[in-house]
Amino acid sequence: MPANIWRRMPSFYSLAGSECMKCSSLYFPASKVCKKCGSQEISERVFEGAGEVVTYTVVRQGFNDDSENEKLVCNSPYIISIVKLMEGPMVTAQMADCEPEEMKIGARVKAVFRKISEEGEEGLIRYGYKFVLA
């Protein structure tokens, strides 16, 4: 588990994706090969975090834990939305500080740094991005 968290830190912590140096295509999460032109000349690209809601769903039942002891840190029900970043790529993420009745397709959002999950009281805390209404 620690290795798994550690490896994904750049993308989870700061929305670090990638940019193709040949055709400028942007990817999140990062892609080692450009899916458009096949180039492997790729550099890291950190996205601003501003975007808008393309669609969303309200999860009212049971948390879908990644593993047996990893518990999501969020209210119930919680909202998952697909956000189109200002730069183009789409990101699926949880909403924070937001009730289902406040959600709207097209709503402007911005990324914030929050607790995502915890491995119980003794284990690691996983941090990462969620979105709040802007």
Binding site: S14, V73, D97, V112, F113, R114, K115, Y127
Partner: protein
């Protein structure tokens, strides 16, 4: 020697609030007498997924962006808190990674009750002054803990403030800093205990007032200042009464303290309390106005700072939201939801 000062600043206050009326109602206590004795009406409550690290990241994004400084230029990060998420695993590592700071980084977590944020600022200031580093971040951040039905529950809140210090493009120059420290047992929490204990009445005279007054008098002497030399004065704000009374004792007027006094609306955010007050003062200060900041940490100590706002301040803050505007978009919680959100009864 070169000037060192604040090159950018940022505050973060969570969106949620609970009213003292609501806390009093749920425990069957008299709200009016609580509000009167504490001079606090409501307090900020963190979201379920917020902690001292996440709030520090948000405050620091603001500070870096105002200073137009890339994370990769930051060479020191010190974080003061009494609610670091881990007992062992530095908050500074998490915040540095989230902000993509330089890997060549001097950093540590500090704890000195509510004073550790300003202590962080003294360390970063010294490193820049001595030429060790160019830019550094000093943060005060806390999710304050209080035993349910303790009077402390009406004030213990959450927030974060981040100060970007440097020696170029300074918005407020640091003229002097001083600290006053004694062993005064007014407030403590033993290892592995969830909530702190406090000495009731003892937290006033020998603790808060003595340290604030001694520290203020000394730093005014060091800088040959009189009370009316300061346009703005900020003291640590454990409640709405202490800082107002301390200001009165030292000869300051309400006009000097009003911009930085936020405790009535947000509560006591511990290590972030006086620094968020400072951010709010920096939102208003005019060029060449002088600012006095004195924090207080139980146990006990006080850190004093004297700043002078520069001509760059009004322009630099222009496109950023003021602290007092950040405080407007709030959601009030009923006690049950507040208790669940702050994991009082998990």
């Amino acid at each position: 020697m070169k000037d060192v000062g604040i090159a950018g600043y940022g505050a973060y206050i969570p969106k949620f609030r609970i009213k003292v009326d609501e806390i009093a109602r749920s425990w069957g206590r008299d709200a009016d007498s609580l509000k009167k004795s504490l001079c606090v009406n409501e307090k900020a409550v963190p979201g379920i997924d917020e902690d001292s690290a996440t709030m520090a990241v948000e405050a620091s994004k603001h500070a870096l962006s105002m200073g137009k400084v890339q994370g990769s230029s930051i060479q020191a990060l010190f974080i003061g808190s009494e609610s670091h998420p881990y007992a062992v695993k530095p908050t500074a590592t998490i915040v540095a990674e989230a902000l993509r700071l330089s890997r060549g980084l001097f950093s540590a977590d500090l704890e000195f009750a509510c004073q550790a944020g300003t202590s962080s600022m003294q360390i970063v200031y010294s490193m820049i002054k001595s030429g060790m580093i160019g830019y550094g971040l000093a943060i005060g951040t806390d999710v304050a803990q209080a035993n349910p039905n303790d009077a402390l529950e009406c004030t213990a809140s959450a927030g974060s403030a981040s100060m970007l210090l440097g020696s170029e493009n300074i918005l407020a120059r640091i003229e002097a800093t001083y600290s006053f420290t004694t062993d005064t047992p007014d407030f403590w929490r033993r290892q592995n205990q969830p909530y702190p204990k406090h000495g009731g009445q003892f937290t006033g005279k020998p603790a808060y007032y003595r340290h604030i007054v001694e520290c203020t008098q000394k730093i005014m002497e060091m800088t040959s200042s009189r009370p009316d030399d300061f346009a703005h004065v900020v003291f640590h704000q454990p409640n709405g009464k202490f800082p107002v009374e301390a200001a009165r004792m030292l000869g300051f007027t309400e006009r000097q303290t009003q911009n930085g006094l936020l405790v009535r609306e947000i509560g006591n955010c511990y290590s972030a309390s006086s620094l968020i007050g400072l951010c709010s003062v920096l939102d208003e200060a005019e060029s060449s106005q002088r600012i006095l900041l004195v924090s207080y940490g139980s146990g006990a100590g006080a850190d004093g700072f004297v700043f002078e706002a520069t001509g760059l301040l009004p322009e630099a803050r222009k496109s950023f939201m003021k602290v007092k505007d950040m405080m407007k978009n709030t959601v009030y919680l009923p006690y049950e939801k507040y208790a669940r959100q702050s994991k009082k009864y998990a």
